[in-house]
């Protein structure tokens, strides 16, 4: 049943998005969606959070399953986060300044990997890119529809800086929407990141309820 429901959820999310990107929708999608919408609406949502949830945040509820995205380099988040204990915002440095967290510039990777683990194949691949003078073409994993206005900056400010939350544990905050990255190699989408997901969190944590706060 659980699996059933996951796939249902996923289908729903897709068709949700399929529709929302304002492209015409095939009749089939249309029917399947209306059925799914009903099914999902009556299913109780189950919350889970293996990460310690910061005390001041009511975690958003929802889960998502999707295949692992094949990246040009299989970047091991687990290694960097779990083992090396590198702070999220060390690499994703724009998160606190801009609406996007940003992929770290290749120079940043090379900063360490000129010397560290240069024998590893993945690093060698990275070095190739660096020498060619171009940055790898990563594939976007966490994506919101084009008509959604989401800023990392505001969320980080509210939940980390304003809340005086220890920045070294920032991963707990990021994890609420990005899942336990310390458990993954390349990033996987673990949360639906659909409107319901955001909505519930906004209600629980006093985020804006105005449509135009997030829709553009």
């Amino acid at each position: 049943m659980q699996v059933e429901r996951r796939t249902l959820l996923r289908k729903l999310v897709c068709s949700l998005r399929g529709r929302m990107r304002m492209k015409t929708v095939t009749i089939k999608q249309l029917l399947s969606f209306s059925v799914l919408a009903f099914v999902v609406s009556i299913l109780p949502a189950k919350s889970y959070a293996e990460l310690p949830v910061p005390a001041h945040i009511t975690p958003p509820v929802g889960e998502h399953e999707s295949p692992v995205v094949p990246q040009p380099i299989e970047f091991p988040h687990d290694r960097h986060v779990k083992d090396m204990k590198i702070n999220c915002m060390y690499c994703h440095t724009y998160a606190r300044r801009s609406k996007v967290a940003g992929i770290p510039p290749t120079s940043k990777c090379m900063g360490c990997h000129k010397v560290i683990a240069t024998d590893k194949p993945r690093i060698q691949k990275l070095t190739e890119y660096w020498e060619k003078g171009e940055s790898p073409k990563w594939l976007k994993v966490h994506d919101v529809p084009d008509y959604v206005h989401f800023t990392h900056e505001k969320h980080i400010r509210k939940f980390v800086f304003d809340a005086k939350f220890p920045v070294e544990d920032v991963q707990q905050v990021c994890g609420l929407c990005h899942g336990e990255v310390q458990g993954m190699t390349v990033a996987e989408k673990k949360k639906p990141l659909n409107m319901g997901f955001c909505q519930r969190c906004h209600e629980a944590n006093g985020g804006p309820g105005d449509c135009w706060a997030c829709h553009k």
């Binding site: 304002m22 919408a37 009903f38 609406s41 409107m195 319901g196 909505q199």
Partner: protein, 482 residues
């Protein structure tokens, strides 16, 4: 001859078995004209499908809509079909409650018409919607996004009203058919037998079933009448709730209801003539019934005309300059021709119904009813278009006649309706057998009373006869079917 004989709507000597035979025959061997009509309707419908597919792919621009004319014939047609649906309710429900016997041979197809015109109307909001695949957003369903439709919007009311009306009128139609289903089950073979067998829900025609049946039928009728009124009032509020000149009119709800009944009756006349011809129903759909229908239509036509006058004069003597402009523009502006067509067809043509000769002459009645229908369609269009053409902002004034796509879809809707209807009458009895039997039974009884009265012509006896005619007859003719 006396009153009863005078306007008896059907020949009371009809054998009940013959009624069965005739009706069943009608369902098996109609005239050629039937098949021709079916074909025509089918082609019209297919054209519409093609047009709709194109429009769905390209966007509503292909319908020729533009900034002032955000709505056009789609909405007009929608209102027209909704209106049409009211006749069935009127004929079967209202007349049923007031015991108008003459409705019995014709109410069946009137009800069918109701259901099918509603089904046709239902399409138009979808055709006209920019992103039809989101149609369900107007329904209040529980979603994890926690957003609801806007309950203040007349369009949401429409959604409720139409779905309710459609379902209940369909139910009404079906319930009314159950005894006939039983008859058919017993008189047909093959797949038809199976079909009717299922549909008659094990009707045996015993007293209990008849009692429940009559109660249910009456109940539904009572429920349907206010519903029908409310539905068209809500449709009218699509316009009345806006601030647009020519739409923001207090008398719109009654006006729309009257118009609805009007167009419905006109439609009934048309179909009456057709069916009478297609299925050789001369004996059942008699001229007397036609006469009565015509009289009813005439009455409603006058009501409608009156309401028109009220609307015009209240605008004319009111001080809302925008309303006045629109009214004047209607009569003199680019749409003047259409407007006067509406006035002619809606207010003048009905007077032909005053002449008995014409009333009893089927071809001319056919023409007249078509004209009335036309008038009623144009009326709807004259509500939508001129207002948009000359609303508040002169900078955005524009005249629009719709594009090919739009016309195709509108015509196609008639094809679709025709198709549904014709298939129905081929599949199910367009004349309610058991009620016709009732009718004959009562008539016979009355006439016997007449005879008696004649024999010993005393005022007392005569008085008895009159009284007797009022009394409902004993016996349950439905049993004969079983």
């Amino acid at each position: 001859m006396s009153q009863v004989i005078e306007d008896k709507v059907i020949d009371e000597k009809l054998e009940w078995s013959r009624i069965n035979a005739d009706v069943i025959a009608s369902m098996q061997a109609p005239r050629k004209a039937y098949w021709v009509t079916v074909f025509v309707c089918l082609t019209m419908f297919l054209c519409a499908i093609a047009a709709e597919i194109y429009q769905y792919k390209m966007g509503l621009g292909s319908a020729g809509l533009n900034n002032p004319h955000m709505w056009d014939m789609y909405i007009a047609t929608f209102v027209f079909w909704i209106g049409m649906s009211h006749a069935g309710t009127l004929l079967s429900a209202i007349l049923h409650i007031i015991h108008a016997q003459w409705r019995k041979p014709i109410y069946r197809f009137a009800e069918a018409m109701t259901t099918f015109s509603l089904m046709t109307a239902g399409f138009f909001p979808m055709i006209h919607l920019g992103r039809v695949w989101n149609l369900y957003w107007v329904l209040p369903y529980v979603s994890d996004r926690g957003i609801w439709p806007n309950f203040r919007s007349p369009l949401v009311w429409d959604a409720f009203a139409i779905s309710t009306y459609l379902s209940s009128s369909a139910l009404f139609l079906f319930i009314g058919m159950i005894p006939d289903m039983a008859i058919l089950r017993d008189h047909t073979t093959g797949w038809r037998k199976k079909l009717y067998g299922i549909l008659c829900l094990g009707w045996r025609g015993d007293d209990r079933q008849w009692r429940n049946f009559r109660r249910t039928y009456m109940l539904l009728a009572c429920f349907l009448i206010p519903l029908a009124i409310s539905v068209h009032s809500i449709v009218s509020s699509d316009f009345a709730m806006s601030i647009m000149p020519g739409w923001h009119v207090t008398t719109f709800p009654p006006y729309f209801v009257a118009g609805a009944l009007y167009s419905g009756c006109a439609a009934i006349m048309t179909l009456f003539v057709c069916l009478r011809y297609f299925f050789r129903m001369e004996e059942y759909m008699t001229l007397n019934i036609m006469e009565k229908t015509c009289k009813l239509t005439f009455a409603i036509a006058m009501v409608w005309t009156y309401l028109n006058l009220i609307e015009f004069s209240s605008t004319w003597y009111g001080h809302n300059i925008y309303d006045k402009e629109v009214l004047i523009a209607k009569a003199t502006g680019p749409y003047a021709a259409v407007f006067w067509t509406m006035i002619f067809c809606g207010c003048v043509v009905p007077f032909t119904l005053c002449f008995q000769k014409l009333r009893r002459h089927m071809p001319s009645m056919f023409v007249v009813s078509i004209l009335l229908n036309l008038g009623m369609y144009v009326e709807r269009w004259m509500i939508v278009a001129p207002t948009l053409a000359q609303a508040h902002s002169p900078h955005q004034w524009d005249v629009l006649w719709g594009s090919v796509i739009q016309w195709a879809i509108v015509f196609g809707s008639f094809g679709w309706f025709g198709l549904l209807f014709l298939v129905f009458v081929k599949l199910f009895p367009c004349v309610s057998m058991y009620e016709v039997k009732e009718l004959c039974f009562h008539l016979k009884h009355e006439i016997e009373e007449e005879e008696k009265a004649k024999k010993h012509a005393t005022t007392k006896a005569a008085g008895k006869a009159e009284e007797g005619s009022g009394r409902t007859a004993p016996g349950t003719p439905g049993l004969e079917g079983a």
